[in-house]
């Protein structure tokens, strides 16, 4: 059965090659920091499933220290001057390899689900999308290598150039998910939910709706994830008050409540894969540039959600 372990070996191999590439680049200003950082990441992918939990935790701590001491970063790559000519030569066929991963992900998600070999599912049913994505990436990379007559070493070098420009931000989404688990174990959400229920002014349906939508957005901004905020805020405010006391429709209240949380996601560095990673990928000088661009939409939409819930739910 093909599942996540296969993808972890692939990722582990890629990060191992990135670490080796960093170590052998004598001109790189962050040569050994990058080597250590990507090497530890490779170790987590390759050995994480067999290591004790505390050792996995220490791996994360070590990577955070390397990043925190400012030892991870990009080098000075020479600007490449012939890209426009190359683009002219390939024409629109350049887009084909770029579209293979989404196409294969889609097709795989629908087609691979029921496939069995000898009574065993070919692909782990819970991970069909991720496995399809991995397969799409591998296929597209192979197709691109053949099309451009490039060597795998070139692909790895170009990949490393991008990975270096993302740097430590590439680990942040996974690290934040781990922090979310610690928050959950320490019942941080319950404490905030109780505080919200005890101290917010909740007289009347309008106040309750405002407290719920704004609370969802704020709590999501703290946790970086609306899924963590939803059960807590809904149990603290929406079910007892909006639904229970004032008779709001639970379907509408919950649907719009979740979407109010999404407004919070747009405003927070804690939602790193949506907000911090793209700023790094696009090489924006301001780490919070994407958040700044989203802020007006997020605030206006939060107001819209509050109005919609108040008008539609009662």
């Amino acid at each position: 059965m093909i599942g996540l372990p296969v993808l972890y070996v692939l990722a582990g191999a890629l990060f191992t090659v990135f670490a080796i590439g960093s170590a052998t680049d004598a001109t790189h200003p962050k040569r050994w920091g990058n080597t250590l950082f990507w090497g530890l990441f490779a170790g987590s992918f390759l050995a994480g499933s067999w290591l004790p939990d505390t050792v996995n935790g220490l791996l994360l701590v070590a990577m955070a220290l390397v990043a925190g001491l400012n030892l991870v970063g990009k080098g000075q790559s020479e600007p490449q001057s012939d890209r426009a000519e190359r683009a002219e030569r390939w024409g629109n066929s350049l887009f084909i390899p770029a579209l293979i991963p989404p196409a294969v992900t889609l097709a795989g998600t629908f087609l691979l689900k029921g496939v069995e070999i000898g009574g065993q599912p070919l692909v782990d049913p819970k991970q069909v999308t991720l496995v399809s994505l991995g397969a799409g990436i591998v296929l597209a990379t192979a197709a691109a290598l053949a099309m451009f007559r490039a060597s795998p070493a070139t692909a790895v070098r170009e990949g490393q150039r991008l990975m270096d420009s993302v740097g430590w931000a590439g680990l942040l989404p996974q690290a934040l998910a781990a922090l979310g688990a610690v928050f959950a174990a320490a019942k941080v959400g319950d404490v905030i939910g109780t505080l919200a229920g005890d101290y917010l002014p909740l007289n009347g349906p309008l106040m309750a709706v405002c407290a719920y939508t704004i609370g969802m957005a704020l709590f999501t901004a703290i946790m970086g994830n609306a899924f963590a905020a939803f059960p807590v805020m809904t149990a603290a405010i929406a079910l007892p008050l909006i639904v229970g006391q004032y008779g709001g429709d639970p379907t509408i209240v919950c649907a719009i409540g979740m979407l109010s949380g999404f407004c919070g996601t747009l405003t927070t560095p804690m939602a790193a894969n949506f907000n911090i990673v793209p700023a790094a990928l696009l090489e924006l000088p301001d780490r919070n540039g994407v958040i700044r661009a989203q802020l007006p939409t997020a605030l206006l939409l939060l107001i819209a959600n509050t109005v919609l819930m108040y008008v539609l739910a009662f």
């Binding site: 993808l7 939990d53 996995n56 490449q80 683009a87 942040l172 998910a177 404490v191 979407l259």
Partner: protein
């Protein structure tokens, strides 16, 4: 109550612009220690709590490795960029005389929302779509509007491209009945004795989706206007 110190650590750390990875790890350890605060806490118990926290953090870190699988795409994107993918995307836009940054991003917003509503969330994304295609296209359109585009405006256009991908995804995906957030709501309400269908939940995501399209769409067209004003100056 003391566990809120962990949240405080996050807020202070981000505000002080410390390295976010370091902030995350510190916040996790602070939360774990703060959960133990009670009269009679011994140093040995605190040390044990620290080790336990490290284990919870490490287990979750290991279990969430799938999040970082997306980086497997980087060699492909790098290879395509080397052959001029970004330049090709720019050329495509330069041929369209009527293309402006705002209109282009508005079309992308509609497509992203529409496909996400059909459950096709993997059709967009920052490494595979925004960096190689959408951002260069938006930049090229802005350059067509203003040949002397300032760096600040260029970065604003790029940030808006990323923002548009997020907004299209967030306020489209909830219209699809089998998306994780819909299933979470359904499951949560079920445990509280309220039975709802995913279809009803997804229908009530539509008003917000329309509001998102109107609000962000207007902002995109206003971006065009501010780019034009800057070009005229």
């Amino acid at each position: 109550m003391w566990v809120l110190l962990g949240v405080l650590a996050v807020v202070v750390g981000f505000a002080a612009r410390l390295n976010p990875l370091l902030v995350v790890v510190i916040a996790a350890l602070v939360t774990g220690l703060a959960a133990l605060i009670a009269p009679g806490l011994t140093p040995a118990a605190a040390w044990g709590g620290l080790i336990d926290t490290l284990a919870v953090l490490g287990k979750a870190f290991k279990d969430n490795r799938y999040i970082s699988i997306t980086w497997l795409i980087l060699p492909l994107i790098g290879l395509l960029e080397r052959e001029g993918l970004q330049e090709r995307a720019r050329m495509l836009i330069q041929r369209l005389r009527s293309a402006t940054t705002g209109r282009l991003l508005l079309i992308y917003l509609v497509i992203r929302q529409g496909t996400a509503a059909l459950g096709l969330t993997s059709l967009g994304g920052h490494p595979q779509m925004v960096r190689p295609l959408i951002a260069p296209m938006a930049e090229a359109a802005a350059e067509a509007q203003d040949p002397n585009l300032s760096d600040a405006s260029r970065n604003r256009v790029k940030a808006m491209a990323a923002a548009t991908d997020n907004i299209g995804l967030f306020f489209g995906e909830d219209i699809f009945i089998a998306i994780a957030s819909i299933l979470l709501i359904k499951g949560f309400l079920e445990t509280n004795g309220i039975i709802v269908t995913p279809f009803a939940l997804s229908v009530w995501a539509i008003p917000t989706a329309i509001a998102a399209l109107l609000i962000h769409g207007t902002r995109l067209l206003l971006l065009d206007r501010s780019l034009r004003r800057e070009a005229a100056r």
